[in-house]
């Protein structure tokens, strides 16, 4: 998970204590996904359990410093050198909603799409406005922040385009008399018996 590796990558710069790590993470990601201190300490506990960090000094103010281990450094290099794979395992809430809505009789799917499109466009407007209020980045913190904004802009744009595309696809199918909504299937498989048995008896 990226929080774990991000914290590790920050610790690769030198020992840090909990609050300091949180501040470092936030300033490097434009405070877009702020972490609470609890998350930081949980993550540090797990990193320590896995031998990637270890306790270091306690300073005069009583701050507990944590430092990266050799295994931790290897993990950082591994993380930076490998791609982030977006798995299908994380269910996409919107894709599921639309997929279900399409099959339901009596649902105005164009309206479902429109409601979502308005939301996507509002997000896009806010992001664009925020970005346009920004001059060219001067510091690497600003650059990091702009990279994050750009990703969010592209993601919102992709969502809007996908909605347009879905609307066209749906309109075409419906005007050709295809893709009618699905009534409940009364020939339901009983108690987890394979569907085959049901079909065979039908």
């Amino acid at each position: 998970m990226s929080v774990r590796q991000s914290l590790l990558a920050i610790l690769n710069q030198g020992p840090c204590y909990g609050y300091q790590l949180r501040a470092e993470f936030d300033r490097r990601t434009g405070s877009t996904w702020p972490l609470n201190v609890g998350q930081i300490y949980n993550t540090l506990d797990r990193l320590e359990r896995d031998g990637l960090v270890q306790k270091a000094d306690i300073d005069a103010d009583g701050q507990n410093y944590v430092e990266i281990t050799t295994a931790g450094r290897a993990e950082v290099a591994e993380w930076l050198g490998s791609p982030v794979v977006r798995t299908m395992a994380t269910r996409d809430e919107l894709a599921i909603k639309l997929a279900i809505a399409v099959t339901l009789p009596g649902v105005d799917i164009a309206q479902v799409i429109q409601v979502q499109r308005t939301q996507a466009m509002r997000t896009l407007q806010e992001l664009t406005r925020t970005k346009n209020a920004t001059a060219d980045p001067e510091s690497s913190e600003q650059l990091a922040w702009l990279l994050v904004i750009d990703l969010l802009i592209f993601a919102a744009e992709a969502e809007a385009r996908w909605l347009d595309h879905s609307e066209h696809r749906l309109a075409r199918a419906r005007s050709a008399g295809l893709a009618e909504p699905l009534p409940l299937n009364t020939a339901v498989p009983k108690r987890g018996r394979p569907a085959k048995t049901v079909q065979a008896s039908a």
Partner: protein
């Protein structure tokens, strides 16, 4: 909000093409207003009525019913001559197909609205050249449209629409033929005109471009079905790090 803030009002505007059995309803009861300093984007599927909305708003075609009010003038009450003057002075059009005059150079195309309004061509060339420079075409001022690429023609059309500080800019897919950097240039220009006190309607299919607007209205089958208004303060981000 004072009355003079309102640059454009569409009040229950409907538009039908043809009559009887084959009549097509392109707009059905559209209410829309544009204030000074406001850029409104119009989105919608092909055939949803976007271009029709612009032609009606700009007084190029009278609506079948409803009222169009530009800077306080009810278009239905104006004589043809008064309407022509209002259009020339107050409205800048960017058409979907550019609509440049082939026998005039880029500079002459951009100067034309000013000259029609009584400026000498010498006097009109100065602001026209400024407008061409903004769209980075100053060096092509003396070229004819046929010698320009599609995207360049589009930029000339945009320069023509904003020259002389017209108060209401109506742009139909002004970024359609442009690459993303040039498209952004055009939006920046449109946005700065609007921020300086003009008003604008921007028809576009491009979500990223529509997002430059203060409001986005969505047309479906000639009706406004929804609207997105950017909130003054972004709830999404805490803003740029110092």
């Amino acid at each position: 909000m004072t009355g003079s803030d309102l640059l454009l009002e569409l009040d229950g505007v409907s538009m039908q093409y043809g009559r009887g059995e084959t009549a097509i309803t392109a707009l059905a009861g559209v209410d829309l207003s544009v204030r000074r300093g406001e850029l409104v984007a119009v989105m919608g599927a092909s055939g949803s009525g976007k271009s029709t909305l612009l032609t009606v708003a700009g007084g190029l075609t009278p609506p079948t019913s409803g009222e169009v009010i530009v800077e306080g003038h009810w278009l239905s009450q104006l004589s043809a001559r008064e309407l022509a003057t209002l259009r020339r002075r107050s409205l800048g059009f960017v058409f979907q197909d550019f609509n440049l005059i082939p026998s005039l150079t880029a500079l002459e195309n951009v100067s034309l609205p000013l000259e029609l309004d009584g400026w000498t061509s010498k006097k009109a060339h100065r602001p026209a050249l400024d407008a061409l420079n903004v769209v980075e075409l100053g060096d092509r001022a003396n070229h004819f449209p046929s010698d320009l690429s599609g995207g360049q023609q589009q930029r000339v059309a945009i320069a023509r629409a904003v020259v002389g500080g017209r108060s209401l800019i109506l742009a139909d897919e002004p970024t359609g033929a442009l690459d993303s950097t040039t498209g952004e240039l055009v939006l920046r220009m449109l946005r700065s005109r609007v921020d300086a006190g003009a008003g604008g309607i921007l028809v576009t299919h491009d979500a990223r471009h529509a997002a430059w607007a203060d409001r986005i209205v969505f047309l479906r089958d000639g009706r406004i079905v929804d609207e997105s208004r950017a909130s003054a303060v972004s709830s999404l981000l805490s803003g740029l790090p110092a």
